[in-house]
Amino acid sequence: MSEQPISQERRDDLLIQQAVCGLNANEKREMQELNRQFAESEPSFELAVAALDLAYASDQASQLPDPLRHIILDEADQFFSSIPTQGTEVPPRPVLPAKPTEDVAPRRNRRETWWMLATAASLLLAFVAWYSSIPSPPPSLSQKLDQLIATPGTVEAIWKAQDDPAAANASGKVVWNDQQQRGFMIFNGMEVNDPNVQQYQLWIFDTARNDELPVDGGVFDITSSGEVIVPIDAKLSIEKAKLFAVTVERPGGVVRSDRERLPLLADDLVDTGA
């Protein structure tokens, strides 16, 4: 068929463009259509373009500016330290022995019974000593949340969904304590994000600060459409919180948000009554 070589050239052109500068939606569709016409998939040009980039860089002796290097290392610290904090579950405690059932065996003589009781008592004492020596597991996020709600001075506010698809089915609340500088966000039905593409970021508006410069409350991911509890990680001290906002940002978050996507707000802060 005479169109075959033209289609093949076009596919190569698109593969090259994909490797060099990416494809737009129409070009992606065209590529999919062309791929369907060929039995074999064509290898990508990404490796070739990467090799050219390497050749260029090895000629340049380029070095990362020192301030930027420090920022990247700080961000790496934050990134790696955030990994183990996800989803802390309480490990199960050892199961206590079941309540002894009533002795239905024939009566034994007094001495035998006394020895049995003494042995059982010492075993019980040994068990209690062992059990109490086990360190308590760290409280789960929901236990920490309950503790904070029960702490005087804690306030909470219901999330108000804004006009953003990420919050179409979202509900939940934010809990914060100015004295303790601690808080949690609770989400239900919030859109799960792909951390390679975008992440959520919390902003805390403080009565003592300019509204143009809210405090970064931390970057986080929504990993489930069910209930998700996220601790607040305020980067600066908050004197008196008055509003919380969640934005959608690039992976790793931003220093200052353009607020282009703002799915949730919480501003009617009320005392938890603790």
């Binding site: 052109d13 060099v20 070739a48 090799a51 920022i71 290392l73 990134f79 992976p251």
Partner: protein, 193 residues
């Protein structure tokens, strides 16, 4: 170098295995490469700084996906970096037109850090690419440089070189096709390092 040795030497695999001490070395080894790419592919210095941060976050996330059998580590880093930079450009709807960053990149006064070019110069794929650019006919080589290094569209290259658009596309297709074939031979023979 054996596959096992390459895997053992890989900073990304060390990072994926939780060795945080490899992070700084990785930033020093590949920071220059990523910075060089970001400066070329983003319009302003501020964008380049933001983009470099995104690239490294992406590298930490994809470290475990590095396969020494498919490409060398510098090549993998370059691929991840360009992908992320393309995403960055598209999100910010800014393509390489005018830059406020000088083409002569920053030279840091401190000499303690290892030169990234030393690490990259030993990369077989980079050597093959440089060699091929020297071997190709001038028009082909020039068209590839303008496309890959300067980020110009095929139409801009055609206009700049005074060639028909179709000819420019053919030059780039043939040149990159040769390089792709050459690199696949290296990868198949396990020579990427």
């Amino acid at each position: 170098m054996s596959f096992e040795q390459k895997a053992q030497d890989s900073l990304l695999l060390q990072i994926a295995n939780g060795q945080k001490s490899a992070v700084a070395e990785c930033v020093d080894r590949y920071g220059g490469l990523v910075w060089s790419l970001a400066q070329r592919l983003t319009p302003t210095r501020s964008d380049a700084e933001d983009a470099v941060q995104e690239v490294f976050i992406s590298l930490w996330k994809s470290a475990s996906r590095f396969d020494p059998g498919k490409a060398s580590e510098p090549t993998f880093v370059a691929m991840v970096a360009r992908r992320r930079l393309i995403d960055f450009q598209r999100r910010h709807k800014k393509f390489s037109v005018e830059r406020d960053v000088p083409q002569q990149v920053d030279r840091e006064p401190e000499a303690a850090r290892p030169s990234p070019s030393d690490a990259l110069a030993t990369c077989e794929e980079a050597a093959q690419a440089a060699q091929l650019l020297r071997e190709l006919p001038e028009d082909q080589s020039q068209a590839i440089r303008m496309s890959v290094y300067d980020g110009l569209s095929h139409s801009q290259i055609a206009e700049s070189m005074g060639l028909p658009l179709g000819t420019v596309k053919t030059h780039i297709r043939r040149g990159l096709g040769k390089l792709r074939d050459r690199l696949s031979t290296i990868t198949e023979s396990g020579g990427a390092r």
